[in-house]
C-alpha cells in the first residue's frame, strides 16, 4: 500500500466512523451540527485528496493529520452515552460556551463553536480545539466533560466556571480581554510580577514549615536551591485567573464548590510540586485565600437577607462562615486587593454581555423563597399563584439556584423540622429546578402565561 492509498483508505475509515455516529442520538440535539461540521471538513479533504500527487509525502502527511484530528472529535462523541449527564446544566454551559468561546475568522465574522457534552471525564474538563490555520475548519469543537459519578451534582458543576476561563483564554475575542486586562493586572506587582519575585516569595522566611522542609530537602539532595520557572509563573497566573472567572460566573456557589471539591484532594494546602519540571498550579491555600479576598471585595461575603430575619439568615451565615474560613498564613496571599479588583472588573465586563452566566446576588425574598422550598423537599423555582389563580413566574439565574442549594446544605440545621435532605437529594432537587426553570423561562419569553 502506497502512502496515497493509505490516505485514501483512512479517509474512507473516518467517513464510515462519522456515519456510525448517526446511528445513535448522542445526547439531546446538536447531532446535526456536529455531523455537518465533520462532513464539511471531510468534503474539503476529499477535494484536496483528488489532486494529491502520489509522491507528495508532505501533503499526504498533512491530510492524514487533518483526518486524525477529525477522528479525535468523532471518537469523543462516540464515547458519550445517553442520559449520563445533567442536560439542564449542559444547556447552561452550552449557551455560555457558545457566547464566550465564539471566535472571529479572518473575514471578521463571529464563528460560534460546536459544543458537545460527554460524561466520561475523570475530572471537570473543557477541551477546546486549538486554533489552527487549517482551511477545512469552519467551526471549532468544544467538548465539555463531566465526571460521570457526579452527574447530578450540580452544586459542584459551577467548577466549570474555572474551565471556561481556560477555554476562553484560547479565543481571539474573550482571550484578548483576559490576556490584555486580567493577566496584566495579576502580574502587575507582587510575587507574580516576575520569576525572581516568585522565587523570593517561595523562599521567604515566612513560608510555612511544609514549604521550607521541601525546599531544604531539595537543595540537600541536589546541591542547588529549587527555583520555580517562568513557565510555572505563567501557569499559576492562568489558574488564578480561571478561579476568578469561576467566581464571576457563579458567585459564592463557585467558592463553596471550590473548597468542598478541592480541599479534600489537597491535604497539604501549601504544597508546591518541586518534583516536576514545572509546577502547574499554585498551592490550594493561595487560591482559597484569593477567593476569600475577592468575595469580600465584591460584597458577596455577607448574607443577602437582613440580620435578624430568622432561620434563612442564620443558614446564610453558616454558608458565609464556611466560605470565608481562611486558616492559612498571610504568606499565602499572592495578590493585592487592587489586583484582584482590577481583574474581577475586567472578567465581569467580559461575561456581563451574556445572560446565562454572571452572578448577581439574589434578593432577600428570592433567597427566602428558594431555600424554603428546598427545606420542604421541593425544587427551588419561583413559581406561585396569584389570588386570581394566575401563575406568578420569575426567572431565577442558575448561580442563584446553586447559591440556594449551598445555603440549604450548609445551613440546614436552622431550617425546618422535616427530615434533612442528603447532599445527593439537595443536588437532585437543584438539578430538577434547573430543568423546571428552563420551562418557566420559555413561558416567560413567549409571553403565554
Amino acid at each position: 500500500m502506497t502512502p496515497l492509498e493509505f490516505l485514501q483508505e483512512e479517509f474512507e475509515n473516518v467517513r464510515r466512523a462519522l456515519d456510525e455516529t448517526l446511528r445513535h442520538d448522542y445526547g439531546p440535539g446538536r447531532v446535526r451540527d456536529y455531523y455537518n461540521e465533520c462532513a464539511s471538513r471531510l468534503t474539503s479533504i476529499e477535494k484536496a485528496l483528488a489532486g494529491v500527487p502520489a509522491g507528495d509525502a508532505q501533503q499526504i502527511s498533512d491530510l492524514l493529520g487533518e483526518l486524525s484530528r477529525i477522528s479525535f472529535w468523532i471518537a469523543s462523541r462516540e464515547r458519550s452515552r445517553l442520559g449520563e449527564f445533567s442536560w439542564p446544566f449542559e444547556d447552561v454551559l452550552r449557551h455560555a460556551a457558545e457566547a464566550l468561546l465564539a471566535d472571529k475568522n479572518l473575514g471578521g465574522s463571529t464563528i460560534a463553536p460546536v459544543v458537545h457534552v460527554v460524561s466520561d471525564g475523570i475530572e471537570y474538563q473543557i477541551s477546546y480545539e486549538p486554533s489552527t490555520s487549517s482551511s477545512v475548519n469552519t467551526h471549532r469543537f468544544v467538548t465539555i466533560s463531566f465526571p460521570r459519578p457526579l452527574k447530578h451534582h450540580v452544586l459542584f458543576h459551577s467548577l466549570f466556571g474555572h474551565e471556561l476561563g481556560h477555554a476562553a483564554l484560547d479565543t481571539s475575542t474573550s482571550g484578548a480581554v483576559l490576556y490584555g486586562s486580567v493577566l496584566t493586572a495579576l502580574r502587575a506587582t507582587g510575587p507574580l510580577s516576575s520569576a525572581a519575585a516568585l522565587n523570593a516569595w517561595l523562599h521567604d522566611k515566612a513560608a510555612p514549615a511544609d514549604i521550607q522542609g521541601a525546599l531544604t530537602a531539595y537543595s540537600t539532595a541536589r546541591k542547588i536551591p529549587f527555583q520555580l520557572t517562568d513557565r510555572s509563573r505563567a501557569a499559576w497566573l492562568e489558574e488564578l485567573m480561571c478561579d476568578l472567572f469561576g467566581l464571576a460566573a457563579f458567585g459564592p456557589a463557585f467558592v463553596a464548590a471550590h473548597r468542598a471539591f478541592l480541599m479534600p484532594i489537597h491535604p497539604r494546602p501549601y504544597h508546591v510540586r518541586i518534583d516536576e519540571p514545572a509546577s502547574t498550579h499554585p498551592p490550594f491555600a493561595c487560591r482559597h485565600k484569593m477567593l476569600v479576598r475577592a468575595l469580600k471585595l465584591l460584597g458577596w461575603g455577607t448574607p443577602c437577607t437582613a440580620t435578624g430575619s430568622g432561620a434563612i439568615h442564620r443558614a446564610e451565615m453558616d454558608l458565609m462562615n464556611y466560605l470565608k474560613d481562611d486558616p492559612y498564613v498571610p504568606w499565602a496571599q499572592l495578590l493585592t486587593d487592587p489586583q484582584i479588583t482590577a481583574a474581577m472588573s475586567a472578567i465581569q465586563g467580559l461575561i456581563a454581555a451574556q445572560t446565562y452566566m454572571g452572578y448577581q446576588p439574589p434578593t432577600p425574598d428570592a433567597v427566602t423563597a428558594l431555600v424554603t422550598l428546598l427545606a420542604e423537599g421541593v425544587p427551588p423555582v419561583q413559581a406561585t399563584l396569584e389570588n386570581s389563580g394566575k401563575p406568578l413566574l420569575q426567572s431565577t439565574p442558575v448561580a442563584q439556584t446553586l447559591y440556594a442549594g449551598w445555603v440549604y446544605w450548609l445551613g440546614k440545621a436552622h431550617l425546618g423540622t422535616s427530615p434533612k435532605l442528603t447532599f445527593f437529594e439537595t443536588n437532585r432537587l437543584c438539578d430538577h429546578a434547573l430543568m423546571q426553570q428552563s420551562a418557566i423561562d420559555l413561558v416567560i419569553n413567549e409571553g403565554v402565561i
Binding site: D25, G27, P28, G29, L82, G83, W87, D91, L373, E376, G377, V378, P379, V381, A383, T384, L385, N387, S388, G389, K390, P391, L393, S418, P419, E425, R428, L429, H432, M435, Q436, S438, A439, I440, L442, V443, V448, I449
Partner: protein
C-alpha cells in the same frame, strides 16, 4: 390549597392547567422506552427466582436493560410509535398533604389521538416527587410528543383522617420513573 401551600404542585405554568379539583400534568424530560432487543419476554417468575436465589444483581440487570433511557430537552420531540409504552415523569413536582390523594388519567384531547395513560394510577397522601406517566399509543400512527405538553391530569380527593404510608419512607423523594417490581412476595404462591 395550592395558594396556601398545603398542596404543592410546582411549577404551574398556566392558569389553564387548573380545574375545579384537578391539575393538568405536563410531560417531563426523561423517557424510558421498553427496548425490543433487551429481553425475550417479561416473566414474574424470573423476578421471583432472582429474589429467592439472592441474585439481586441479575434482577437489577434485567430491570435496567429492559428500558432505554432518553433525556429530551424542551422543543425536541420523541415519537411514540403504535403499540409502544413509554414511562415519563411529569414536569411538575408534587407534595401531597396527609388527607389528599390523587388519581391520574389521560386528557381527553390526547386520548382521542390514541394516547393512553395506560393505567390510571393513584397517588397516595404524603407523596412527594414527580408522577410517572405510563404512555401508550393505541392509535395507528406515531405520536410526536414534546416535553412541556399537557398530556394528563390529576384529580384530587379528600381522604378522611390522617394517613401513613406504611411501606414507604415519609420523605422519600421520587425524581424520575423507575421500573416496578412485578412479583411481590405475596404473589409468589401463584408463580411457578
Amino acid at each position: 390549597m395550592i395558594q396556601k401551600r398545603e398542596l404543592i404542585a410546582s411549577p404551574i405554568l398556566s392558569s389553564e392547567q387548573i380545574g375545579a379539583a384537578s391539575i393538568d400534568l405536563r410531560m417531563g424530560n426523561v423517557v424510558l422506552m421498553v427496548r425490543a432487543r433487551g429481553s425475550s419476554h417479561v416473566d414474574p417468575a424470573a423476578y421471583k427466582k432472582h429474589a429467592l436465589s439472592g441474585a439481586g444483581l441479575d434482577l437489577e440487570v434485567d430491570r435496567r436493560q429492559k428500558h432505554e433511557r432518553y433525556e429530551i430537552p424542551f422543543r425536541e420531540r420523541f415519537l411514540l410509535h403504535p403499540g409502544t409504552l413509554a414511562l415519563v415523569p411529569t414536569l411538575e413536582w408534587f407534595k401531597l398533604p396527609a388527607d389528599v390523594q390523587g388519581a391520574v388519567t389521560a386528557r381527553s384531547t390526547w386520548a382521542r389521538e390514541g394516547l393512553s395513560i395506560a393505567t390510571a394510577s393513584f397517588v397516595e397522601p404524603r407523596y412527594q416527587g414527580i408522577i410517572t406517566l405510563e404512555l401508550a399509543n393505541l392509535g395507528q400512527v406515531p405520536l410526536s410528543l414534546y416535553p412541556g405538553l399537557r398530556l394528563a391530569q390529576i384529580a384530587f380527593s379528600r381522604v378522611d383522617g390522617d394517613t401513613l404510608r406504611p411501606r414507604r419512607g415519609q420523605f422519600q423523594l421520587a425524581f424520575e420513573p423507575q421500573q416496578g417490581d412485578i412479583a411481590k412476595k405475596d404473589d409468589y404462591p401463584f408463580i411457578t
